[in-house]
């Protein structure tokens, strides 16, 4: 009975989601918090919610985190 769960997850929307514009505007700060071991999702809940739902922004997040970690 779990066949529709992926569709349900995709269709689920969270009002805390800040959208691409706000998430990308703060992405450098968010990534540095994570790179330094802080709980970025707790501080920027709406950004974390957005990154969990938006494939393109999540891709940018992973790219920036990889770049910062490569420097450390």
């Amino acid at each position: 009975m779990g066949e529709w769960s992926a569709l349900d997850r995709f269709l689920h929307t969270d009002p805390r989601d800040v959208g691409c514009e706000q998430a990308m505007a703060i992405l450098h700060v968010y990534v540095e918090l994570i790179a330094h071991g802080h709980d970025a999702a707790d501080r920027y809940e709406g950004v974390a919610t957005h990154l969990a739902a938006c494939g393109p922004c999540s891709e940018d997040f992973h790219g920036l985190l990889a770049a910062v970690r490569a420097d450390n």
């Binding site: 349900d8 269709l11 689920h12 959208g19 940018d60 790219g63």
Partner: protein
């Protein structure tokens, strides 16, 4: 945040990039470009398994992204020191890589807003091909909700991205808009579709349980 509170490396970047002496400023610009190109190349390599570009074309894309990201030199006043300067700069070039990959897809494949092949929908949502009947039910239920609940533009974008599999950033190029606008459109469409599927008994109201339809 004032420049005085910046870390030493960030402060040095800002000082050199704003230097009145051409020689020193040009050297800083060259270092910045070299850094942005290094990040762009790493990013296109990281993404290469999921895009249909490789070799010299991928390197060209990295060069273009780095060149366009140099526009940050006109935005230095917007750097508020909330992160290291390098992290702030990396963000621009990573976003440039995304935009260029979206444009590449759009140029090579175009965007189809045709209703397309709804039979592909079950596969997109991971339904086991062996469960053919359930897949057909899902496709039919979603299509009915899409036709009945969404605006014409929401339908087009849903079909392009979800049914026909176009990257969101390529749809952005096609429609001459921005990622946030398309995401918001899809956000509203997802909310309406879920409400319709819940009302029709296909999905549970509060969680990801499937309700037999």
């Amino acid at each position: 945040m004032s420049v005085k509170t910046l870390d030493g490396e960030s402060h040095e970047w800002l000082r050199a990039l704003g230097c009145a002496r051409d020689r020193e400023r040009n050297a800083a610009l060259a270092r910045l470009h070299e850094m942005l190109l290094r990040i762009a190349r790493a990013e296109v390599r990281r993404r290469s398994p999921s895009v249909d570009i490789s070799g010299p074309e991928l390197d060209d894309l990295a060069h273009q992204a780095a060149a366009d990201a140099m526009a940050i030199t006109s935005k230095l006043v917007t750097f508020r020191g909330e992160s290291r300067f390098t992290t702030w700069a990396y963000r621009f070039v990573i976003l440039e890589v995304s935009m260029k990959l979206g444009r590449h897809f759009w140029r090579e494949h175009g965007i189809s807003f045709d209703p397309g092949d709804w039979d592909r929908l079950p596969d997109r949502f991971g339904i086991n091909p062996a469960h053919e009947a359930e897949g057909r039910d899902l496709a039919a239920a979603v299509r009915e909700a899409v036709d009945g609940e969404l605006t014409e533009r929401q339908r087009e974008v849903f079909v392009a991205i979800i049914v026909n599999g176009a990257p969101l950033d390529a749809v952005v190029v096609e429609l001459g808009t921005n990622r946030n606008a398309i995401y918001k459109m899809m956000f509203d469409a997802r909310r309406k579709l879920r409400a319709a599927l819940v009302a029709n008994g296909y999905l549970g109201a509060n969680d990801a349980r499937h309700v037999d339809g």
